[in-house]
Amino acid sequence: MHTTLIDQGLDLMLFGMGSVFSFLLLLVLATRVMSLLVNRWLPEELVSGIVAKASAGAPPSTIDPKIVKAIQTAIDRHRGGGKRD
């Protein structure tokens, strides 16, 4: 019975680490292939354009653009030392 417990632990270690390594190794390969394909067939410019378009169709952000603008202005001034005034 006790031997079984140790055996179970060894089994768990063996198959556990095996699975973890095999899985992540596969994920490394799959990720490389994916990146390769994406960068060949979906270059950045195209993607950004499409995503931006999709975003435009989505409901507007909940922050009032005027406030965003105002904050941006404040940031700009802070950085630019009031050049725009």
Binding site: L12, F21, L24, L27, S35, G57
Partner: protein, 390 residues
């Protein structure tokens, strides 16, 4: 006079058992560590407070509701009873937290350098060697651990709170308090535990290795990656699908750019609310009879060992990989493979800066760091699958 007796008899002092007093002190210590020492306060404040609450004699925070013969509620249950049974026993809270963590995770570093995934794999050695340690303690009759207990203890080495809670609530719920406390405590101790191991296992030259600048990652890659991961999990390790599925879902909401409303709520109101209740619910398992025993000491000890082995395995893996690769990896970032996001990555960065003040490893360490989250979840799935069959 009867009333006075009744009030006194129902007061905490009169009912107080030593175990409860000690556990309340444990709760206070957790609060102290969280507030004054900054130990993972987001979880340890609720866990510590929940520990105090559940040990108040006569307050009934973990009392089950009573129903009469007609099925009508006679006496409602305690708050922590409902939280535990609705959110933790069912696995809902850890899964929602994982969704939130996914929505907060940036895979750019990993995508730019996918081989760092292997560092996250190596660090899981900590998990399984701790399982071995726990069964050895059980084998030699030193402590009373079953294989389910051992698996739950091992997962502490994953350095990932929600994963540890998810696994333990499935395999060994009576250990939940000890395992969660150990997991979060050691995650908080990363800046203390890891650096000596990192220095011991690396040479000055290795620590000074400068890594290639990471290439920019396109939006499409970041959108497709969570789907790719999901598909691999679905095909190969469905037992890991609950955790990694929700993780990928959160990450997809973050990256896809068209559901920012949902992503924002997932990263804020939702994960914060669930964190509070998860912490309280874990605290509800911190009762004297479940926590104050030799097994808890064993869990704390084994957890520390798990952490150290995981850290070492990540570093050594990086050194092995360097033997076969032209683009050298700084082995310090291997230590980040234990997860403990983002603390472990920061520690790698800091130790790196000690050797060379111009060597910024933070972004490089984020790769193995998030890989560690994936690795632990995979390990969790495998263990749940295998242990359930034993």
């Amino acid at each position: 006079m009867d009333k006075l007796v009744s009030l006194w008899a129902s007061s905490g002092v009169a009912q107080l058992e030593a175990g409860q007093l000690i556990m309340m002190s444990v709760g206070m210590v957790l609060l102290y560590l969280a507030i004054r020492r900054g130990f993972e306060p987001l979880l340890l404040v609720p866990i510590g407070f929940g520990t105090v609450l559940v040990n108040i004699p006569g307050a009934g925070f973990d009392a089950a509701p009573l129903y009469d013969a007609m099925g009508q509620l006679e006496t409602p249950g305690g708050l922590l009873y409902y939280i535990y049974h609705a959110g933790i026993e069912t696995g809902l809270f850890p899964l929602i937290i994982f969704m939130g963590v996914g929505a907060m995770t940036d895979f750019s570093s990993l995508l730019a350098n996918p081989k760092t995934l292997l560092l996250g794999a190596a660090a899981q050695v900590g998990i399984f060697s701790t399982v071995l340690g726990a069964v050895a303690l059980g084998h030699f009759g030193i402590l009373d651990f079953s294989i389910r207990d051992a698996a739950s203890i091992g997962i502490i080495g994953g350095a990932d709170g929600p994963t540890a809670i998810f696994v333990t609530s499935k395999l060994a719920p009576e250990l939940l308090g000890a395992v969660a406390v150990a997991a979060y405590s050691y995650m908080a101790l990363v800046p203390i535990i890891q650096p000596p191991i990192m220095r011991a296992l690396t040479s000055e030259a290795e620590r000074g290795i400068k890594m290639q600048q990471l290439r920019p990652v396109s939006a499409a890659e970041r959108i497709i990656f969570p789907l790719l991961l999901l598909m691999l999990v679905a095909m190969l390790l469905p037992d890991a699908a609950p955790l990694l599925g929700m993780f990928c879902f959160g990450n997809l909401m973050r990256e896809c750019g068209v559901v920012n409303r949902l992503s924002d709520t997932t990263q804020n109101a939702l994960i914060n609310s669930v964190t509070i209740f998860l912490g309280l619910g874990v605290g509800s398992k911190m009762s004297a009879d479940q926590f104050l025993n030799a097994e808890t000491l064993g869990i704390l000890g084994l957890g520390a060992v798990a952490f150290c082995i995981g850290t070492a395995a990540g570093i050594l893996m990086a050194k092995v990989m360097n033997k076969f690769s032209t683009h050298k990896i700084n082995p310090l970032i291997g230590a980040a493979g234990v997860s403990a996001v983002p603390m472990a990555a920061r520690v790698a960065n800091r130790v790196g800066l000690e050797s060379d003040p111009q060597n910024f490893l933070l972004m490089h360490a984020m790769g193995p760091n998030v890989a560690g989250v994936i690795g632990s979840a995979v390990a969790a799935g495998v263990m749940i699958n295998l242990v359930a069959g034993l």
